[in-house]
């Protein structure tokens, strides 16, 4: 991506994944990533008429778990972010939102291997990303 993206961010981007069912989904954005940053793009679609246990602004409730080699971190990247009304797309049946963050902002690189990332929002759990991390040497 040519322009600088704000991270963590909650805007829709050219690399945002699509979502066909209610829930939350993650995608590893290889094109935006480099040796020093690993960008993860996400999207959620929440039904309007079901109790999916999300109170307040959905972005603030997104929980991300990253684990590798016996270490892990559980974080809420968007907890303190300012969410405006137009950051959420409203359809007849759903609220749709987008987000992105750099995995390295929350989980320190130690050595090469397969890092795993999963997120949750209310009663929904995302797919698990398997991110191959190359050696920085």
């Amino acid at each position: 991506m040519d322009s600088v993206i704000e991270l963590p961010g909650i805007s829709k981007s050219a690399y945002s994944p699509s979502i066909k069912e209610f829930g939350i989904a993650l995608a590893f954005s290889e094109k935006e990533s480099s040796k020093d940053k690993k960008i993860i793009q996400g999207v959620f679609a929440l039904p309007k008429n079901q109790d999916i246990k999300v109170y307040g602004q959905p972005h603030k409730s997104i929980v991300v778990t990253i684990n590798f080699d016996g270490r892990y971190v559980v974080t809420k990247p968007f907890e303190d972010i300012v969410v405006l009304a137009d950051d959420i797309e409203e359809t007849k049946i759903a609220q749709v939102g987008y987000f992105q963050f750099d995995m390295y902002d929350y989980f320190e690189y130690t050595h090469a291997g397969l890092y795993y990332v999963v997120s949750s929002l209310g009663t929904y759990l995302s797919n698990i990303l398997h991110i191959p991390i190359e050696s920085k040497q």
Binding site: Y55, S61, G70, V74, K76, E79, S120, T123
Partner: protein, 217 residues
């Protein structure tokens, strides 16, 4: 076969079908949530039995199967399944004597040919995440590792065979876990609803909801 043999066979099949139908109609209701899922979760098991047994050091609990453990029917299923009481009652936020224990009964099914770093048992590598949905606060933890581990003895003859991931591929391994969620995550106990899930490596669990009710208000 002669025509009356056909009739006999048809009547026999019909009789067996009716008998089976009557049996299943009147049979006691299975207390597990049966579905198309590769696993089932006991609906009305007695979590108090797990609490009475205790959780040991740091609330890690026993790594065994019990009446609240989810069942995996599909032997090819890989992942984590957890069960928890739908409602818990508490009188104080005291952690002593397991007064406010929140038992989680889970199972992990893993292909030993898939890389997963494990310093001890597979169950002890599972990360459990709990969120207070009203306060939007999240805690997490793992089952504490064993104490005073004795190194594996060397074989009497020859070298110990170390299997490669390729050689282990297809060997599905199950482990159970029953920690006290309250102890291992350091969560705060409040009158609220909690969402709980577990994950490690390429595996994630179902999400369970626990309603916490304060008694004696």
């Amino acid at each position: 076969m002669r025509p009356n043999t056909y009739t006999t066979v048809a009547l026999l099949v019909l009789g067996i079908s009716v008998a089976a139908g009557l049996y299943f109609y009147h049979a006691p209701k299975v207390e597990r949530t049966l579905s198309m899922q590769p696993y089932s979760i006991p609906d009305n098991c007695d979590f108090n039995q797990i609490i009475k047994r205790g959780f040991g050091r740091e609330g890690g609990g026993f790594l065994d199967e019990n009446q609240c453990s989810p069942d995996i029917h599909d032997l090819k299923f890989l992942g984590i399944v957890i069960n928890a009481p739908k409602v818990i009652h508490f009188s104080s936020t005291d952690t002593e004597d397991n007064q406010n224990a929140i038992p989680i009964s889970g199972i992990i099914s893993h292909d030993l040919g898939t890389y997963l770093d494990r310093k001890s048992s597979l169950a002890r590598s599972v990360i459990i995440v709990v969120t207070d949905i009203k306060a939007n606060e999240t805690w997490s933890g793992k089952i504490p590792g064993p104490q005073n581990l004795v190194p594996r003895p060397k074989p009497l003859h020859g070298e110990e065979k170390i299997f490669t991931l390729e050689e282990m591929k297809g060997r599905i391994h199950h482990e159970w876990f029953n920690p006290n969620l309250f102890n291992i995550t350091g969560m705060e106990l409040r009158e609220t609803e909690y969402l709980v899930y577990a994950t490690v490596g390429p595996h994630k669990s179902n999400v369970v909801t626990i309603k916490a009710i304060k008694e004696g208000k």
